[in-house]
């Protein structure tokens, strides 16, 4: 479980996120949703420590990450896997080397064990036999899957995904979403997904946190999202539903 308390962050006097608290539950897919530019990515980066928040603390299973010393920080980092918006695969390494990279850096496994683990993860994301392909030779959806494989290769306790299905067609989006949810349940991971896609919210939003202009306005399960009573959230859901109906019709 991850708990955040009163996280704020400004860039040059411009407040981007403002006093956000909440918790992300283990073994569930926790979504952070909101319109573009509301600070979702900034919040996610504060949680994983890529951005230092101005105020507030992040707790990974009661360990205070924000105020942790170097050893504690790197210990927690070893338990984190992250999928970036564009996949963020290393261009100079092939698929296999990309997935193996965290193992090389963080563990002392033997070469054979590493290969076996890489192949297991590749098979888990439904991509066997692309080991030797370079990132430039595979499609966007495959990159995301390789990114997921790299994120889970070291058995993380925490998985973060920034817009896992942006730029993908609706079908592939669903496949990626379901893959994330399955992996979360299978390995009992605390998963945090940033998205503004209503399909994802309805599909995998076991817990949802809604951000609006840097403030948290609502959280709960996707079942309750239609009658939240929060006007901004209703607008957000509603505009998206119209789009969804348009797509179907």
């Amino acid at each position: 479980m991850i708990k955040i308390k009163n996280i704020s962050k400004s860039f040059d006097d411009k407040e981007v996120i403002n006093g956000i608290s909440g918790e992300f539950v283990k073994g569930k897919t926790n979504l952070i949703i909101g319109a573009s530019g509301t600070g979702k990515s900034v919040l996610l980066k504060c949680i994983v420590g890529l951005i230092q928040p101005d105020t507030g603390n992040v707790f990974y299973d009661l360990r205070n990450f924000t105020e942790a010393d170097k050893e504690m920080k790197s210990e927690i980092r070893r338990e984190i896997g992250m999928l970036f918006q564009g996949g963020a695969l290393f261009d100079s390494k092939n698929v296999e080397e990309n997935i193996m990279f965290p193992l090389n850096i963080l563990t002392r496994m033997s070469a054979a064990d590493k290969i076996e683990r890489v192949n297991f993860c590749l098979q888990r994301v439904g991509l066997e036999g692309v080991n030797k392909k370079m990132p430039s030779e595979i499609s966007g959806g495959m990159k995301k899957r390789v990114g997921i494989a790299r994120a889970i290769v070291n058995n993380p306790n925490y998985l973060f995904c920034d817009e896992p299905n942006s730029g993908l067609d609706p079908q592939t989006s669903i496949v990626i979403d379901e893959l994330i949810m399955e992996i979360t349940h299978e390995f009992d991971i605390t998963t945090v997904v940033v998205t503004h896609d209503m399909n994802s919210v309805m599909g995998i939003g076991e817990r949802v946190m809604f951000l609006h202009k840097g403030h948290k306005l609502w959280d709960g399960s996707n079942k309750d999202i239609a009658h939240s009573g929060v006007q901004e959230l209703e607008e957000f859901v509603f505009t998206n539903k119209i789009m969804k109906n348009l797509k179907v019709g």
Binding site: R78, M82, G86, A88, I105
Partner: protein, 242 residues
């Protein structure tokens, strides 16, 4: 000035939270191949031509019968060792290696590859940049030595084939009143330039913000800033050491 301060902080950050020695060793070797071995051909080409052209032009300008012909190769030697090999080649090196370092790091920045390294708990600056600087310090002086030799050979070929001077004269001029310190000076210069180019280009690339357009801008800035730094350093080193 703010930029200079950030540059110094950046250099400091390369030496904290490092990985194991083996990791750096492997990365450094890869970089040596990338920036050293793959630059040899360009350096050989450019320096041979520069040696040849310098010989031709010096020969064309020294028409007085009172000046012995071997002075031509003597002039070629002085120019090559002091200025052409270390300094002019540094500008070419900045254009070839500096821009690719900055472009590579800039692309890694905007595609979040640097963030991915940081999330894994790696000091990305140190992991990516230190091997480049070390490889540059190892390779550039070697490239300077190679281009010095090539320039003198190029001068020899052009000088003797066009019969500006005889092989004996050329070799005599090369050996005439030779000051070994100039070689040390050229090597000192090449270490300084290697460091400046690699660190400035990495610095520019590492802090790229935005998209593909900014990566291009960062590369251009890296080359411009490197060249200015080279020229300033060239001036100060000559002032201090000669």
């Amino acid at each position: 000035m703010k930029g200079f301060g950030r540059y110094i902080i950046f250099l400091g950050s390369l030496f904290v939270r490092r990985e194991t020695f083996m990791t750096y060793y492997k990365l450094t070797m890869e970089e040596c191949i990338n920036i050293g071995v793959k630059s040899i051909l360009l350096f050989v080409l450019v320096s041979s031509f520069m040696g040849g052209v310098t010989t031709l032009q010096t020969g064309a300008n020294l028409v007085s019968p009172f000046v012995p012909r071997f002075i031509i190769s003597n002039v070629v030697r002085e120019m090559t060792i002091l200025e052409l090999a270390p300094t002019i080649m540094a500008i070419i090196y900045a254009g070839k290696v500096g821009s690719s370092m900055s472009g590579g790091l800039g692309t890694m920045r905007i595609t979040e590859q640097i963030d991915a390294l940081e999330v894994m708990g790696i000091n990305a600056a140190s992991y990516l940049v230190l091997p480049k600087i070390v490889a540059s310090l190892m390779m550039y002086p070697l490239l300077v030595i190679i281009s010095g030799i090539c320039a003198l050979l190029g001068g020899y070929l052009v000088g003797t084939l066009t019969e500006i001077l005889t092989p004996t004269e050329y070799v005599y001029g090369i050996r005439y009143s030779f000051n070994e310190f100039f070689i040390s000076f050229a090597l000192i210069k090449s270490f300084v330039f290697a460091f400046l180019i690699a660190s400035i280009s990495s610095f520019k690339g590492y802090f790229t913000k935005g998209g593909a357009l900014e990566v291009g801008i960062a590369s251009t800035q890296a080359v411009t800033a490197s060249i200015i730094a080279i020229l300033l350093a060239d001036y100060f080193l000559a002032y201090l050491l000669l």
